[in-house]
């Protein structure tokens, strides 16, 4: 079985985010990027399937800053192959990214495509369905449990309000992973360094994505600071505040 896991980099949220001059998006030039946490879960789930039976895990990513390290890390964790798509926009939205990924993945003969259900850098959390459409595969997203048996994947999908549903999906399929069955594994630095010496990353040109119809961001702003909260410790204080605000 072949499992393809697209990996995406997102801004590291411990850093202060800066906006571009137009105020329409982030200024990526000084941003520190890291692997999207849900993609990490998708990769972990793929590796769990591989370790539970047999599967070939291929990590795919659009070329960009620090992407090599991310792909080597995936190899160090246990992925069998890493593919880097060159000549595409690493910060593209899901519509464009799905096209790029579909071009790359369509020839791979994937039985399963596991993508992170969302990313800090996207606006819709729709990568799995859009990619599935381009690949002409069935899809289920927001999945927290996955089991593969004879060409069928049994998945648990999470709905709001704590409702769970179980689906059987015919393979090949695209699954949007919400959480892997266990915490994504750590890649020891010495293993990553060893992999850098011994393994190589395959490169693939992005190809033509055609016209992408998508939404555009007209304005992006930092959230406005509100007054904040005050912790009150006595009824008297509450009364005082209410008086101050003119409520009573």
């Amino acid at each position: 079985m072949k499992i393809v896991v697209p990996l995406k980099q997102v801004p590291d949220l411990v850093e202060d985010l800066e906006l571009n001059d137009e105020g329409t998006g982030l200024d990526y030039e000084y941003l520190k990027m890291k692997l999207n946490e849900w993609d990490d879960h998708a990769l972990e789930e793929a590796l769990q399937i591989k370790e539970g039976g047999s599967a070939e895990v291929i990590a795919v990513a659009v070329d960009g800053e620090d992407v090599d390290k991310m792909l080597y890390t995936a190899l160090a964790k246990g992925a069998d192959k890493a593919v880097k798509i060159t000549g595409a926009n690493p910060y593209a939205d899901n519509q464009e990214l799905a096209r790029v990924l579909a071009n790359a993945i369509s020839g791979m003969g994937a039985d399963l495509v596991l993508v992170g259900v969302q990313s800090a850098g996207d606006r819709d959390g729709w990568l799995a369905p859009i990619l599935a459409t381009h690949l002409n595969m069935p899809t289920v997203s927001v999945v927290t449990g996955l089991e593969v048996n004879d060409g069928t994947a049994t998945v648990h999908k999470e709905y709001s309000g704590g409702i769970m549903a179980e689906f059987d999906v015919a393979l090949p399929a695209v699954i949007g992973v919400q959480a892997a069955r266990q915490t994504p594994r750590y890649a020891p630095v010495s293993k990553v360094r060893q992999i850098q010496q011994s393994a190589s990353i395959e490169e693939m040109a992005a190809g033509d994505v055609g016209d992408v119809v998508t939404s555009t961001v007209e304005e992006m702003r930092h959230p406005e600071k509100s007054g904040g909260a005050r912790i009150l410790s006595s009824v008297d204080e509450i009364v005082e505040v209410l008086k101050e605000k003119g409520v009573v």
Binding site: D12, V14, A187, P188, V189, S190, V192, R193
Partner: protein
């Protein structure tokens, strides 16, 4: 003299038992040498001379338990002298007319020593048997959650102790009685053998035949027994009397704070026994199972499943039970045979077990090797993985932006120099905790104020600094440690400075002991010694006395690891405080529980009391102590918490040594400074 038949029988016994024992010793050699490479052969003569002198003076054993050590010394001196006694007794058995009774001054001296030492050994041995079997000290017990070899659980150590104890009593006791029979045979007492003469007086009424029988029986019980005992040696803990001196001779000669470099990068650390360096396999044969190591272990004392003692004992029992399988390469993982996974993560790397061991064992080194392999196989607590990821991505353990490293400087009315941009004499390597931890930032600012007021030319490398990696390495993440050290050294190489100062003993240890092997050679000072020098050369003027009765906690990485015990104490006294020592001080200091990456992990569910709370209780037991003094940022946060959680808030306050210096310097406050400036203007 023995009869001819007896003489032949003894030779036959020596050959048979000798062959079996030789097989046992060869087995030890095979197993020990199947361990990984460990170069301990430099200055081999010097090593053995030092070991023999140390053993001869019983130096290592007197590091703890003075009473038991005294009785041990009695047995040791007696047993050592018994080598001569045994040679004499063989001559007596084979050479017609050989006797030391009624001889010259040399013979009399020999007689006197054998008489006294016989009693020493008997008294010593009886003490140990009474202690173990009647006294039953709690310290010989293991926490219930500790992994123990089934044979140990079934009382294997006790049985071994009993067998060895009885052997020694019979061996020495028989020889002693034998001498008494000889005296009866000679028909007189001998002043050079006072105790044997006393016993002889009780035998005086015996017939010559009975005396002769007595001589033969006691000879066989003394000499025959030791030969019969030989094959048991390689399987008994008693072999420590041969292996311990060898083990001490092969002790670590590299700095304590420098971990061994990995010799097998493809399979780093240890999964099975023979993945350990051979010296650490040898450790298990030197171990006498005295449990001194877990007596001082903060993990053991806080109820977690780690006992360094059990680790070494388990190794030994596993070797005893499956030695041939080990040599054949069919080994079981150490995590099944020697130590549990959660025990591996309970170690604070405080070095107390290594420090106290009388035979030169390093249980902590085993744990570090096991961690190294576990991390390489991504087997570790989730919270540790999270911190290591942060360290990899941001260079600090807090998961904060690298840019926020200098946030502590806010509110500081001093312009700090950046050695990447301008030359400074001293580069202050601030370290993660002093920079990011809110409990520590105030202390860090005080250090800056003191250095500034003393006119020290210093700077910090701002956001370019990364964790020095001391505890990353000890958590087992060798690759990440190397990456951090390389980045830091690369940065330091770009800076213009002469020497490094730091408040953090962990950082101090890494730069002093670990960085040279990575190509970074720097002169580094802990602020305790640095400030003391500033006071002594007059750069810091102490104007007033701090009036307080205080105690001081030695940080592991400053004290045990690097031998800095006196500087902080001298500094505190110069500031005027009255220093009262806790019972566990200096090299016997008790760890706060934070080291080796423990501060990043959750407490074990079985923990009965945090080591830091135990330490605070120790300080409280001194009575009327105002301040608990620390010289390590991690200690500041650990003990500030422990004072609260142990219910001592308001009774005891945690102070950094810098607090005393600042108070004794009696600097004008910032507000006063400003007034002064405006007045000048």
């Amino acid at each position: 003299m023995l009869s001819f038949e007896e003489q032949m029988a003894f030779i036959f016994l020596v050959i048979i038992c000798g062959i079996i024992a030789a097989g046992g010793f060869y087995r030890i050699y095979k197993i020990v040498s199947s361990g990984r490479e460990d170069y301990r052969f430099d200055n081999i003569v010097g090593r053995f001379v030092k070991a023999l002198v140390d053993v001869g003076l019983q130096r290592p054993i007197f590091k703890a338990r003075p009473l038991a050590s005294t009785f041990h010394a009695m047995i040791f001196f007696g047993f050592s002298f018994y080598i001569l006694v045994n040679v004499n007794d063989i001559l007596e058995a084979y050479v017609d007319g050989w006797t030391t009774i009624g001889g010259g001054p040399v013979a009399n001296a020999f007689n006197l020593f054998s008489d006294i030492f016989s009693v020493f050994v008997l008294v010593g041995m009886i003490f140990f048997l009474i202690r173990r079997f009647i006294g039953k000290p709690k310290v010989f017990e293991f926490n219930k959650n500790v992994l123990l070899n089934p044979a140990v659980q079934q009382g294997g150590i006790k049985r071994d102790s009993l067998i060895v104890g009885i052997f020694i009593l019979i061996h020495v006791g028989s020889r002693w009685l034998g001498t008494a029979f000889h005296l009866v045979e000679h028909g007189h007492s001998d002043l050079s053998m006072p105790t044997a003469s006393l016993v002889a007086s009780m035998f005086s009424g015996m017939s010559p035949e009975a005396v002769e029988t007595g001589i033969h029986v006691t000879w066989w019980l003394a000499m025959g027994l030791i030969v019969v005992f030989l094959p048991y040696f390689p399987y008994s803990k008693h072999i420590h009397l041969m292996i311990a001196p060898i083990n001490l001779a092969f002790e670590r000669r590299t700095p304590r704070g420098m971990m061994d470099k990995e010799t097998n990068p493809n399979e780093p650390g240890a999964k099975v026994l023979t993945d350990l360096p051979w010296k650490q396999v040898l450790d298990s044969y030197a171990c006498i199972m005295c449990t001194r190591c877990h007596e001082v272990c903060p993990a053991h004392n806080s109820g977690t499943p780690l006992s360094p003692s059990a680790l070494v004992i388990n190794k030994r029992y596993y070797i005893n039970q499956e030695g041939s399988e080990i040599v054949a390469g069919h080994e079981k993982p150490l995590l099944e045979t020697a130590i549990k996974e959660d025990a591996v993560w309970s170690c604070t790397t405080c070095m107390a077990c290594v420090e106290v061991c009388p035979v030169g064992n390093e249980p902590m080194a085993d744990i570090l090797q096991i961690r190294r392999r576990m991390v390489f196989e991504a087997q570790m607590p989730d919270e540790l993985a999270e911190v290591l990821r942060n360290l990899d991505e941001q260079g600090n353990s807090f998961g904060e932006s690298a840019r926020k490293r200098t946030r502590w400087t806010k509110g500081l009315d001093i312009e700090l120099k950046d050695p990447t941009k301008e030359p400074v004499k001293y580069l202050w390597y601030v370290g993660d905790f002093a920079s990011y931890n809110q409990n520590c930032q105030d202390t860090t600012r005080k250090v800056a104020r003191v250095l500034h007021a003393a006119g020290v030319d210093f700077g910090i490398v701002m956001k370019g600094e990364k964790s020095a990696g001391n505890d990353v390495r000890r958590a087992g993440e060798e690759g990440l440690f190397e990456a951090l050290a390389e980045d830091n050294i690369q940065l330091l190489e770009k800076c213009q400075f002469e020497e490094i100062i730091t408040t953090d003993p962990h950082t101090f240890n890494a730069i002093k002991n670990e960085y040279p092997a990575m190509g970074g050679h720097y002169k580094v000072h802990h602020y305790s010694t640095f400030l003391l020098d500033l006071i002594k050369n007059g750069q810091i003027e102490l104007k007033k006395k701090v009036n307080a009765r205080v105690t001081y906690h030695d940080p592991c990485y400053l004290g045990r690891y690097n031998g800095v015990f006196d500087a902080p104490r001298e500094l505190m006294k110069l500031c005027g405080v009255e220093l009262v020592e806790m019972p566990r001080n200096k090299s016997n200091s008790f760890c706060c529980g934070a080291g080796g990456g423990r501060i990043w992990m959750k407490d074990h569910d079985d923990m009965t009391q945090r080591p830091s709370e135990n330490r605070i209780e120790e300080a409280m037991s001194l009575g009327d102590i105002k301040y608990f003094t620390v010289a390590c940022p991690k200690d500041m946060t650990m003990y500030s918490d422990a004072v609260k959680t142990s219910g001592n808030e308001g009774k005891l306050e945690v102070m950094d040594i810098i607090d005393y210096v600042l108070e004794a310097m009696d600097l004008p406050t910032e507000a006063e400074n400003k007034e002064e400036e405006s007045a000048e203007a």
